[in-house]
Each structure stands twice: as structure tokens, then as C-alpha cells.
Symmetry: C2
Subunit: 254 residues, 2 copies
Amino acid sequence: MTYSDKLISYYKTIANDCVLGVSLDCVIFGFHDTRLKVLLLRWKDTNEWCLPGGFIYKTESVDDAAGRVLYERTGLNKLFLQQFHLFGEANRYDREDTWQRQKMPMPFSGSWPDRTISMGYYALVDYTKVTPTADFLSDACGWFDVGELPSLLYDHCRIIHVALQTLRLQLNWQPIGLNLMPEKFTIPELQRLYEAVLGRPLDSRNFHKKITGLSILTRLDERRTGRAHKSPYLYQFDLSNYQRALVNGNLIFV
Amino acid sequence: MTYSDKLISYYKTIANDCVLGVSLDCVIFGFHDTRLKVLLLRWKDTNEWCLPGGFIYKTESVDDAAGRVLYERTGLNKLFLQQFHLFGEANRYDREDTWQRQKMPMPFSGSWPDRTISMGYYALVDYTKVTPTADFLSDACGWFDVGELPSLLYDHCRIIHVALQTLRLQLNWQPIGLNLMPEKFTIPELQRLYEAVLGRPLDSRNFHKKITGLSILTRLDERRTGRAHKSPYLYQFDLSNYQRALVNGNLIFV
DNA sequence: CTTTCTTTATGTTAATCGTACACATAGAGA
DNA sequence: TCTCTATGTGTACGATTAACATAAAGAAAG
């Protein structure tokens, strides 16, 4: 059985078990080395990358399907995961061109609906806890700097762009970091995250005042030592206050 | 041909021409007599109401489909219309119960997919310019106070609730009113809109200061006369500044 | 051991914003 | 002409923000 045959049989299974005409794409954000990262998959036997995505089983809620995709690609569960946009244009991307870049076998074209609308989700995950895992259609899975994306299939470049825009807006009235930072972190490290998402530097003195004023952080008795200069305190998120801030939408606007 | 036959044939046409398994529901907000209103349809020959909704033609974008539904029900075009949530639970509502309340003919059940996910849109329209128009499935179309909704089919009660929540959030960083108010209006009238959406009274003196400070309003030389007491000035929205405020997301937070 | 250098932690100040409240004004009705 | 009340404008005060200053910590260099 050739790869081409496998592919067609795979899509036939999907067509049988899943809701037809609707897919979902997950923009999975991580944070590492002062940079905001996105998790991407490389389409098998090509140099083309795409977002982790999938289809919705007939008895499964769309949100659950997104959680499943996230789990399958990262090994993580129960994370911050949110709908952000439905991509529903009739011609979201150049189909011929995309199939060619994917090296899609041509008998394929008959066995698939003419268009697919896609629900976009974005997730915030702890980079250090993720085990990037490729799927049936891909031969690599890895992180990319949001500023240095590779060649992307479909309309995934736009999807990432819209996700980032949404994330930036969200920053104005909800805290982030709970799922992006490791369990213990310093305030300057958290500031790097905010700077990476907003794409501009922040005043460290005002940031410190602001973020501690939200009472979503608990200062530990430990410090991060070993580096030159004054050792910063380590912090943890105060889960209950963090949740309250998420729901109430305290203005942050760093 | 009985109504029952017509209904089945109607849904067969839909199944043929439209994307299967995906629908859309529009929460159309209007404003009248100090109250926020929602446009609802009454299901033919029942006392059950529902949101205007529809399906997506195979060659039509989802956003365009929402615009079409809005136009068909209100006669209005090119309005503020926005996605707000995908309702994708596998069992969004009690199907048996709903069909019974709809007096749905039972041969129907075989000719329709097991589940439908629905994209929620909300629109802001000028109450005075709307001609509520019933569709094939309904025998009445009218406005309801968001606080006094009738018996609703499907999960439309929840959909309205989520739409209202989204609208309230949006109020914190975007102006509203351009499509909800008539062309000329007074500041106290605009204040009534904000109060209706937020569900709480505002201080008229501070509201006046705040709203004029955004420079999205142009004061006309006319006043609204005929009523008792001091005649208030009439205002218009300054379109270019209004658009800028929409895009930039100036904090408003009344 | 002392000095230097740099990052972290905390503090200060002036400007701005939000909230609460006071008051003069206009216009219809008594 | 007086009254009543919604409207338009203004003021005062506390809270918040943005910009800038300084002290403390800790490793490296002399």
C-alpha cells in the first residue's frame, strides 16, 4: 500500500467518522528564550508547514475536538484553549497550488468536499512541558518564532496573524502567563513574555508595580541564583485570584 | 401540497444547495424606547420563537451568508455584523422536545444530519429603519426586550445571552451606536443606549464629558424641541473618527 | 578585599483620568 | 411670571498612569 493509497484511505475514514466540511486549526503558542513561538507540522515529504488541525467526530463537541488535537500534538491537557475566529470564505486559499505543494495524489480530488470552513482556536502552553508529536500527515513537528515563519500551506499564515491579534487584544483585560510560563518564574521573565506578545519593550519598574498590584502572584522565599547580578525572587501564580481576574476581566493594559 | 410536504421539500433543497451540518444564527440588536431589543421569528403555527438564521450556500462565504440573513429579515445592508461564538456541542438542545414544540412532521427526521453546529453572529441595527420580515418557516417577526424574551426554540436563549455578554465586553474598548441610533440623536438618547446595554444607570454629566471627549460626535446647530424642559442639541457621528475608534480600540469603559 | 558593573527591587513625582457632586440654563406648562 | 425638570458646563478630590531616580544584591575584575 503506497503512501498515496494510505492518504486516500485516511481521508475516507475521516469522511465517514467526522462532520464533513468543517475542520479546526489550532494556533499553539509557547514562550522560550524571550520569543513567542508557534507549533507547526511539516507535511510529509515536503518542505511545507502547517498548523496542527483536525476534524470533529460525529458525536464530539467542537471544543472537545480542539482539546483532542492539542493533546495529540503536545501531550498536554486541560489548557487555556479558546475559539477566536471562523475562517469561512468560499475560497480560503488557492486549492490547486496548495495540493501541488502538498504533493497530493490526484485521485484525491474526487473524494473530498469542494470547500472546508475552519474554526480557529488558540492555545497557550508551557514550552518546557511539550513533547511535539507529528501526526499521520506530517514528518516533523516543531516550534517557530512568530516573527520567522516558514512557508505555510493553506491560509495558515493569516490564521496565525489573526490569532496573534486576538491574543494582543486579550492582554488588555485578562492576565496571561499561567499556561505559558513554567511553574516558578521571576517577574522580569514574565515581563519578557508580555514584551514578546505585545512586540514592544515595557518599563520594568511600572510592570513590576502593575503585575504585583493585581495580586495574581505569590512571592516564594527562593531566588533565582547562579547568574551575575542581583538574584530575583521566584513567583508562582495564585490560581484562585488568577481565575478571578480571567473571569472578571480586570483591566491590565500594560 | 401540505405544509408538511413543503417543509420537507424545503429542507431537501437546503441540503442540496448548502453546506451541510453548519448553520448560522443572527442576534439582531435594536434600540427603542430606552430598551435593548432582539429581533425574533415565530415558528409557523406555534407559539415558539427563534433567532433569524440560515444556511450557507456552497459558493458563499459564511460572513456573506450572515449578511444575507440580516438583509432578508430587516431589509438592511452593510451593517455592523460580527462573529461571536461557534456553538458546537454535539447535543446543543433536546432534539425530540424541540421538534415536538415545532410541530415538525415526523418523516422529517430521516432527511437531516444528526447534528448541526451553528455560528453565532450579532448585529447592531437602527430600529426605526427595520422592516421585520418573516421567512418561509415563520409567520411573525418582531422585536423583544432582551429582558422579556418569549419561549425560545433550540439553544437560542443561550445564544442571545452570549451575544449580550460579548456586546457588553465590546463596549469597554469600542464605541457603539453608529448602527443602533438614528442618524441624528441627542447625547441623553445615546446615554439611554449605553444604559440599556450595560443594564445600569450612568451619570449624565460624566457620560457627556466622556462621549464628547472621544471626538466621535459632531454637534449640529439643531436642537430637539417640542418636549418640556431644555432642548438638547442634536448630534451626528463623525464617521472617520468613529471608524478610527473602532479599529484602534480606544478604551471607553463607561 | 575592594571596586565595578549590571540587574533587580522599591520609591517619587507630575500629569491624567474617573467619580461624585454643584449650579446655571433653557423651555414648556401652570 | 413662576415653577419644574432635563440639559449643559464646571469643580474638587482621590486613584491611576507614565516617566524618572535611587538603593540593594551579587558576580566578576582588579
